[in-house]
Each structure stands twice: as C-alpha cells, then as structure tokens.
C-alpha cells in the first residue's frame, strides 16, 4: 500500500497540461530517479528486517551497492551502515566495507515534522542525502545509542582485519570517548580492550584514551581491562620473558574476549617495536649488538639481519642496512641516515597526505554548512529565536513604553496646561 501511494503521489506530478517537451523529459527523469531511490529504500528495509535470509557476502555486496546508489557521500548515519559492517565481518569480505567506512559520517537522519521530511520529495533533485534521508523516509530503522557504538566497534574490527591500525584506533577512539548518560557500556569496555592492543601494535605503547574521555570513565576502563593494562606495561618495559608470562597467565581472558589473535600479533610486534625504540638511543648498531639488545637468548646474527631487513623493506622501520664483505655479524643497522629516502620521495608522500587531508577538510566544510543550515531550520532553534525576540522585544519595548510614559507625561503636562 505504501509503495502504491508513493507511486501515485510521484506520478501525480506528471499530469500537468501543456508541458514543454524538455520539462516533460526532466520530470520523467526525476520520476525514474525517484523509483530507483524508492526501490533501494525498500530493499534496504527488507534486508534490515530479515538478515537471516541473506548469504553474508551477497548481502554485503547488495547493501553496499544500495547505500552508495542512494547517497554516494554516505554522510548520514543509517541502520544500513551497521548492517553492512556486520555482514562484511560475517562474510570476511573486509574491503567490501571500505567504500562506506572511509567516508565521514556527519549527520543523523533528521526528525519528523519538518517540511523536508515529506517522502513525496524523494524524487526531487537533492544536493545531499540529509534532505531526503529523514526518519520518516524509511531509509533507516530507528537508531539507538547502541547502534552507533556497534558501528564504530565493528568498523574498527574491519580495519584491524586489514591491519590498518591507525584507522582502527580512530574508530575505537570514537567508541571509548562517547559520552554516556549513565555508566560505561559493555561495548565501550570491549572497544577499550582492543584499543590497548591496537595501540601497542601501532605505537608500541599504551595509548591514553582521547582527551575528551571523562576521568571516571577511564578509571572504569582500567579496572575492567586490568590484564590488558598489565600486558601493555610488560610490552612497554621491553621484557620479552615477562610479556610471554603475562600472555600465558591470562590466556583464558584473551579467549573469552575473542582477542587471542590480536594478543599473538602484539607478541609478534615486540621485536619491531623494540628495534624502533633502540633507534631513539643509538644512531647505529651492528647485528651482533642488536641481537644482544633485543633477544634474551643468543640468536644467530643472520636471523636478526633477515628480520631487520624485512622490517625496513616493509617501511615499518625508517633505517638502512650496511652489509660488509664477509660477516653477517659486522653488518650495520643505521637508524639516522641521509641515504634512507631521497628528499623528493618524502615531499611526494607529504604532498599526497596533504591532498588527502584537503579532501577531508572539503567534505567537512560542506557538511558543516549543511549542519548549520539544518540547525537553523530546526524547531528548537526557531523556538529559541522566537523566545529571544520576545525577550529582546520586551527589553526594547521598555524605552518605547518609557516614550509612551513620556507622552503620557506630556499629556499630563498638557492636561495641566489645560
């Protein structure tokens, strides 16, 4: 019935007499576009209601296609965001979520009772998704605080699977710093545990939560994620034996939290992080000295050399290797080297980063403008402006009243004269 009424209301726009041909064409095109959007909306609605009927990979591909077709910017957070990320995790098709995950979310669907929330305008030419992706449009199911947290936690997990630790930290940071009305949710605690491990993998240290996280929430995290904090301290001290002992001692915890894979990666990253830290103290080290510094038991210099070479070649370590004619032990690892990368290459990298940041800023500026516009049209803002006018009106009326009083005085004066 809803679909039928949608079609009738949309086609009603066409039945105007004596339309010029180009206007008629435009309306036909609008109508087709409207049906495409409508079809996508209804399909997303059906998927959201019955996930079980979908093969996860099939579902993820269809939902991603529908979302990008409906709103290429994906800037409005909808229940489809969560559905897509969950399906991608189930299907283990991580990169399928990236076209949506890599886009900035700047809005929630706007609430009902606003002129732009009328579903009949779905066929109009929209400059952005905010204007038609409203609560009333049916594009998204009702969203809760939990959906928002889950989306960023799952998004972080997708990035972890792809070893994009920096992006994973960003997503997890959003979850753990979300202000809560009451206590800390279980999703946030889970995100904090992953935050500790991903912080070790990316930065080699226990990262403090984002500065906007309230201190009492941080205390709750630290008490609930005690084994993770102890593990992080062992990692930071560079004590491999203690790190292994902590990993073994809390094996049950890692398994119960489904973090065993991340913990094993943390142990694997111990070598690289220790070598990176040595670079802050030494300018250069021979392979024999490096082996002594890093490994508690004697290790062949060739093994160390091969591991260091892999680190440098994968760009995990900014250093260079200087081999000698005969002995592997005498090969040198140079941390600060003018040879490592030519200036031009660094500048190209920097330029590429700047370009990305600029694109991101451009998106944010556009969305800030839209948010500003929406806030300006919101009931709350109109009410407050109205109240403000009444208030300022009353304060400005006083002089007028004063003027009138003055007139009255004049009248009185006149009266006296009379």
């Amino acid at each position: 019935m809803t679909l039928l009424s949608d079609i009738i209301s949309a086609s009603a726009n066409l039945h105007s007499n004596h339309l010029p041909s180009d206007e008629y064409d435009r309306r036909i095109r609008d109508l087709v576009e409207y049906f495409r959007r409508l079809q996508t909306t209804k399909a997303l609605d059906s998927f959201a209601n019955d996930e079980s009927c979908l093969n996860p990979l099939l579902g993820a591909t269809l939902v991603k296609g529908a979302m990008l077709r409906l709103d290429p910017s994906c800037a409005v957070f909808t229940s489809s965001h969560l559905l897509l990320v969950r399906l991608c995790l189930q299907a283990k098709a991580y990169s399928c979520a990236l076209p949506v995950l890599n886009k900035q979310i700047c809005h929630f669907p706007i609430s009902q009772g606003r002129p732009s929330s009328d579903p009949s305008v779905l066929c109009a030419d929209h400059s952005s998704g905010v204007s038609f992706m409203t609560e009333a449009s049916g594009v998204s199911a009702k969203l809760s605080y939990r959906d928002y947290l889950q989306y960023f936690l799952y998004g972080g997990m997708v990035y972890m699977a792809l070893k994009e630790w920096r992006n994973a930290l960003h997503f997890l940071g959003i979850v753990i710093s979300t202000p809560g009305a009451s206590s800390v949710s279980l999703i946030m605690v889970e995100a904090y545990k992953k935050w500790v491990l991903v912080g070790l993998l990316e930065n080699g240290r226990l990262c403090p939560p984002p500065s906007i996280t309230t201190p009492h929430v941080v205390k709750v995290y630290q008490s609930l994620a005690r084994p993770y904090i102890i593990l992080a301290h062992a990692f930071e001290r560079g004590d491999l034996k203690r790190l292994n002992a902590e990993v073994d001692a809390a094996k049950g915890v890692w398994c119960a939290d489904n973090n065993l894979g991340l913990v094993s990666q943390v142990v694997g990253a111990f070598f690289s992080q220790t070598v990176i830290k040595l670079g802050k103290t030494f300018a250069a080290l021979t392979m024999a000295d490096l082996s002594k510094q890093v490994f508690p038991s004697p290790v062949c210099a060739e093994v160390t050399g091969s591991a260091v070479s892999s680190l440098i070649m994968s760009s995990a370590l900014n250093a260079t290797l200087v081999e000698t004619k005969d002995h592997a032990e005498a090969s040198m690892l140079r941390f600060s080297s003018i040879h490592s990368l030519p200036q031009l290459s660094r500048e190209l990298d920097l330029q590429s980063q700047l370009k990305q940041e600029m694109k991101l800023m451009g998106t944010l500026v556009i969305n800030l403008g839209e948010t500003n516009n929406n806030l300006g049209l919101s009931d709350e803002y109109v009410d407050s402006v109205h109240k403000g006018q009444v208030w300022s009106g009353s304060s400005e009326v006083n002089p007028i009243v004063g003027g009138e009083a003055g007139l009255e005085m004049d009248e009185d004066l006149m009266g006296d004269m009379s």
Binding site: Y94, T324, K325, S337
Partner: protein, 221 residues
C-alpha cells in the same frame, strides 16, 4: 550492464587479457557472487567436477589478482571465503596458500620458488608470470631504499636471481643492478644501491597547500 555468466571461456579471456590489475580485480570481484552461488549449489547432486574446476580457477585467479594489486591482507581474507572442501583438496589453491605464507613472512626466496617451481594450471600461467614480475619490481624498489651497501648474493636472493652465479660475481648478474644506477665495488665486493623513487600516478597539484589554506581561512572567518 548485465554481467555475462561465469564460465571457463569468460574466465580464461579475463585472465589472459593484458588488462591493468585494478581492472582485473574489479571484473573478478563482480564474479565472486556468482562463484559463491555456484559453490552454495555445490552440495546438490546436479553439480559435478566441472564446477569444482571452474571454482578452483576462479578463486586462484582472484587470489593472484589480490596479490597483483598488493592487497595481501585481503588475499588472506579471501582464503577464508573459499569453500573449505575445495581449499583442502585443490592443488592449485594449495599452491596459493603456500604462496600466501611466503609473501606474508616476506621470505623472498620462497616466493620465487613457489611461483617458479610449483605446478600451476596453464590458464593461470599469465597471472603467475605477471605476479612474479610485479613482486620482483616491488622488491627491487624496497631493496634500493633499505640498503646502503649489499652483498651480491643477498641482492640476488631478494630478486630471485641465481645465487650460485652471484657468488661467482657473474657479470650478467651485476649488470642487472648496475643498469638501475647501482654501483659495484669490486674491491669490497659490495653493491651500492641508488634509491628508486616512484612518482605517484596522479599529477600533483602545485597549489595544494594554497587551496588547503583557503579552506582553513574560510572556516576561520
């Protein structure tokens, strides 16, 4: 545009084409759903070994194209999406797993061994050769940036060249490096690499910083 059905002919045409890796990846990604549906129907009695061969070739090609587009993590994820029974029993997919292990552990010598020594189906040969060339180029760039001085034998191992000839200081092996601008010191018997700079594919905008500042200025106002 409607996608033609996934058949051996279609797959063979794609794999042997000289299309850029990103285009190949895009095309094969679109076929993954069909492969997924074929494998789901694989439990029924009306599917035979033809489907297994098609699926094996599809997943092996898709895996190699992942590596060719430098998506190692995603290639690993693909191996988790391949039907378990097929993965365990298909020799071509087993080769893919061995290759993945070698790439994941950055065992360069092992990578060349797998690519050159293991039996790959004829239809996959063009992709295998393309990946070998890609891997060699990528490693050459990495070695040039990672070493200030390197023994000829070490360089040969990284690039899949003959180690025995390298130990004998073969002129052909040395020329492979010197033609890239590296220098060979016969006294120290060491190569001195010249870092290779790869220019980005897109032309860089010269006024990028100015544009960024303009945006910031607009918001600051």
């Amino acid at each position: 545009m409607e996608l033609p059905p996934l058949t051996m002919e279609q797959l063979s045409q794609l794999v042997t084409s000289n299309a850029p890796p990103s285009q190949l990846f895009e095309a094969l990604s679109r076929y993954e759903l069909q492969a997924c549906l074929i494998s789901t129907g694989g439990n029924s009695s009306n599917t035979g070994s033809g489907d297994s061969t098609l699926l094996s070739l599809f997943y092996s090609s898709f895996f190699l194209v992942h590596l060719l587009t430098d998506q190692v993590s995603e290639a690993r994820a693909l191996t988790k999406r391949i039907p378990e029974a097929l993965l365990q029993h298909d020799p071509s997919l087993q080769n893919c797993l061995t290759l993945l292990r070698a790439v994941w552990q950055t065992q360069h010598g092992q990578v060349y061994q797998v690519l050159r020594g293991l039996p790959w189906p004829d239809i996959l040969q063009p992709l295998v050769r393309r990946y070998e060339s890609f891997f060699q180029d990528k490693t050459l760039i990495a070695v040039s940036r990672s070493y200030e001085a390197i023994r000829l034998a070490t360089a040969a191992t990284h690039l899949g060249l003959d180690e025995q000839l390298a130990k004998q200081e073969d002129a052909n092996i040395i020329s492979n490096f010197t033609k890239c601008g590296w220098t060979w010191d016969p006294e120290s018997k060491l190569l001195h690499p010249k870092p290779i700079v790869v220019s980005p594919a897109e032309p860089q905008s010269s006024n990028g910083i100015r544009k960024a500042m303009e945006i910031l200025g607009t918001r600051a106002g």
